[in-house]
């Protein structure tokens, strides 16, 4: 049973339901299915990819609904929206505590996450020097992952 960082899928689905109820929104079959697939699958997935995945089993669920549900998950705090250099919007399951950055391979497209406390502190320090208060940040490294770097050297 894969235990994700932000609590298990059931916990998270409860969180979604609570969010919906609180805002007077409705809990629907489609949202359930999409949230489920997303929470258990999903690293850095686009709306298009998510739609393909969902619509395989559920032909009646349209792209728009998938798209809107991912936005909803982001608003409810269960997902983060990210845009990397390819300019596609991707979503990934999110837990409140965890805020990581990304290593993106420009050869194979793999996305690796990392977290570094020293980095966080240094960022705060730098911002502080400018009297700047950070709300969010974006930090991505683009280059060759360990696999593609090796391969490149051999050529």
């Amino acid at each position: 049973m894969p235990q994700t960082k932000g609590g298990n899928t059931i916990d998270r689905k409860e969180k979604l339901k609570a969010f919906l109820k609180q805002r007077g929104f409705k809990s629907t079959r489609q949202r359930d299915i999409i949230a489920d697939e997303f929470l258990k699958s999903g690293e850095h997935i686009t709306a298009e990819e998510m739609y393909k995945k969902v619509s395989r089993k559920h032909r009646d669920i349209g792209f728009t609904t998938v798209y809107r549900t991912l936005k909803l998950l982001a608003k409810s705090g269960l997902a983060t929206e990210r845009v990397f250099a390819d300019n596609l919007t991707r979503y990934e399951p999110l837990s409140a505590e965890d805020h990581h950055d990304h290593l993106i391979c420009i050869n194979c497209g793999s996305i690796t996450e990392f977290e570094d406390l020293k980095l966080e502190r240094l960022q705060e320090k730098i911002a502080g020097e400018f009297g700047f208060r950070i709300v969010t940040h974006k930090m991505e490294f683009y280059g060759y992952c360990n696999v593609c770097g090796e391969r490149q050297r051999k050529k």
Copy 2:
């Protein structure tokens, strides 16, 4: 006389001409005008903004040419293309040595540059731990600048 980091405007225009010639491209009136305006003006400007600025004095220069010239400047190494959270492509004059990051105010939209050697080293170190070789990186802080932060506290 404003002296920019990457050499003066004339130097840079020579660099552009050399680039064009080397590639068998042509030096045109439009490219001259656009490069000129861009190099002396330009922090983080969009193609649209650049077009407005240029077309005020030169009604005959079209958006497409401005757009293409900015891309050309990027390819020739005189400009960097950047996309911030608003998803607009911006261009800024670039010198080879200087690679800085950005503080972006989510209230007033101001963009401040900074450079930090410690940060660079830490980035390399982190990437190294993953066997990752950085080619480029993207690092942006979003939050409140010193002006907007103050104002917010007063409210």
